[in-house]
Amino acid sequence: MGLVELMPQNMVAVTRPSIINDFSLVAATANGTGSQTANLTILRALFKMGIPVNGKNIFPSNIQGLPTWYHIRVSKDGYIARRHTSEILLAFNQATVAEDIKNLPPGGVCLVNADWRNIPQRDDVTMYAIPVNQFVKETGTTGKQKDYVANMVYVGAAAQLLGIPLEKIEEALSFHFSGKRKLIDLNLNVVKAAHAWTAEQILKSDPYSVEPMNETEGLILMTGNEAAGLGSVFGGVTFAAWYPITPSTSLIDALNEYLPQLRRDPETGEHHYVVVQAEDELAAIGMLLGAGWAGARAMTATSGPGISLMAEFAGLGYFAEIPAVIWDIQRVGPSTGLPTRTGQGDVTFVYYLGHGDTKNVILFPSTIKECFEFGTTAHNLADQLQTPVFVLSDLDLGMNNWMSEPFDYPAEPIQRGKVLRGDEIPLDWGRYVDVDGDGVGYRTLPGDENWRSAWFARGTGHNARATYSERPSDWHENMERLRRKFDTARDMVPGPVIDEVEEAEIGIIAYGTTRYAIEEARDRLAADGVKTSFMRLRALPVNEAVRDFIRRYKQVYVIEMNRDGQMHAILQTEAPELATRLISLAYLDGMPLTARWVVEAISKQ
């Protein structure tokens, strides 16, 4: 069965110059068909070739059947932001094939299942068709297995067309199936068959291909949630409570994978941790605060709707001053919103989460390495500041695979903050007395034999000795001390990362995963002669370095993925005298930001 018989081929591309290691590819499949294995195999094979890559799973809120797109960016220059278009389409979802082909840019490439009828044709796109059913039949698989096998057909064909060596595919499969030979071979045989068929039957006429590089040597590929889970295990978490919600669940999965491996007593097998699946997020954070009050390093992971439920307890944690760590893997709200899409819409809500004058410390990781490191930082800060610390990641960082240097063993020691035990407790000790002037009192833990250690934690008004009080001066003084404590936090949290460019007149401020689009956009703007400086925030509250940065630029763009410019608004209140320099560039449609959007948004100004 020759390809030419199946559909007319567009041969113009033969004369086009080749494009190596610089394109995007999208695999369109149906959810729940095992396509994730195929996608990750391609991603890891490219990574093993030494080429910088990033994969983004654009998936539906559904278990089976709805369309899924997996975007892989291949970039010799190391850019890993999402791109506006993908040149190469692996069209393996009949339900979306027409739309998917329409979305290809002129000069694009489409690999499609030859068994389907009525596939739309485009003159400006190179079409390759591959008879998927034939390969599936040959393996003798039936039922659901068929879908899994079919996915491997496109891996084989794509590998042949792009020039991914089969041994790299094998390495990737071996990683995926943890070396289980039977599974590796089952999949590899299909890949090989499709690869051989493609080599024989398809005349490559498009310009896209890959070549080995040396850019990923020694790097790892991991999701942000896995890194956060692992980081928390090394950060000394002892207690976790949670309630399942996309896209945070895989963070707890990582805890459940690593804790039993790494945190059991070597002799007795007993646990140095506990993970509780709570009845809801409200109970989850309640358990955290109970555990944190009693002295554990307690954490949870959740997303928007869970954060909403946690509001009342967040206020108790802030006011009774109890350590806890809450990872919010942001999805898109309001309400249930887009549960499987990414955004940065929880910034203001979390910053002020809790009624009354509540203000919370937030960390913003942007790499998997920071996810790992913040596993320690967040717990240390929570213990040192005696308050809930939130970590705002997002679906893109949390659930997708990112390249990174291997993680270093934490340089930060485990810090338990100001805890007094036994005889250390002075006669005149009071829980909220600001002995050091930094707003942070000394706490004691239940179980201490010294009778002086006892105190009564409460969400009601209290004085410096933690006794109930409705006195106006007690209330005011306590709240002012909490303000002092928040000011102390400013210089304790991870500071901003600043890239200052000489003669630049534009400043850019961002946080989290928007950095990838911004870094690429800055290179493009620079190529056009527009110089920019960039400050990436890693935490709230901000410190003086942030204000200094704003002060140095007449125009400072605050770029973020939400509708209202939430960080922009917070920065305006943090630096009111500089408010007019801050310009909000905010956009959210559920997809990760692109460099193109950033360039256009800045150029329009």
């Binding site: 506990v274 109970g290 009693a294 002295g295 554990a296 006892a454």
Partner: protein
Amino acid sequence: MGTRREPHTNLIGLAKVDYNGSPTTLCQGCGHNSIASQVIQVAFELSVKPHEIIKLSGIGCSSKSPAYFLGQSHGLNGLHGRMPSLATGALLANHQLRGIGVSGDGDTASIGLGQFKHLLRRNVRLVYIVENNGVYGLTKGQFSATADEGQALKYAGVNELPPIDICMEAVIAGCGFVARSFSGDAKQVRELLKAALSHRGTAVLDIISPCVAFNNHDTSTKSYGYGKDHEAPLHDFGWVPPAEEIEIAEYDPGEMRVVEMHDGSHIQLRKLEEDYDPTDKLGALHRLQWAQEQQEFITGLIYYDPERPSLAEVSRLTDTPLALLDAEKIRPSAQALAEIMAGLQ
């Protein structure tokens, strides 16, 4: 016993005042106050080490009580209806501690019903006292979910809805120690409290505790008058500390039942009601249902199952509480990280 001690001090040398909390701010005559007094008395009599107890509560007049007893114990007054989650976290973080939680009928049977049931399902080692007055005291007299059907209140009008029976909910949720008592029956409250402290999991004490400000009319089953006239104990309930001799000789063996508890102490039941067997779950539910239909005020240990392990036990924790583990125990080695990193390449 041979130990010599100062008069008015217990085995660990503490006087009863050492178990006091701060002065109560509840109404004079409020049932909650007498329950707090019994907690003090029991802790003194049992020579409880204050530092081995944590006190927890939700929000309400009842939930204020932990401030009024055991001032040398750590306390956590949380959110309305959410004491169970705080207790679960705290008692897993330090499973060597014992918890005493105080809640109200609003706190437990309305806003907190979900957490209450999940606490029992998990079997956290906590004495869970519901100071049940059939009304919201702190917000001034609204009906709670345990109010009697057809009851009238000054502002709230007539309650048209059937009450939630806290003991029944507890039995259904798998609680292994379910008791009902009356704040006016100090002796029974004390004995039940002692036994509850010996229980390995959650022990629920649903104590009818009249609100003199909003629900003390004789028409209410949660009033002093009704309680005094109608209390129908299922048995004479006694608790005998570990290693102390049980004196049953004077009773006809058919009248007396002795059950051993997890810590070696004993529950001693002198039957008042012929066939009542508190270890029979269906029988307990049946009896509760019957009592509710008859508006009968049964008290005593309604259900007991000593077998279920506590949450801390099934969590396979090390002896050292999680809260007190050293840094080396909670951060794996550099080599462990290096191996994981190597495996990811």
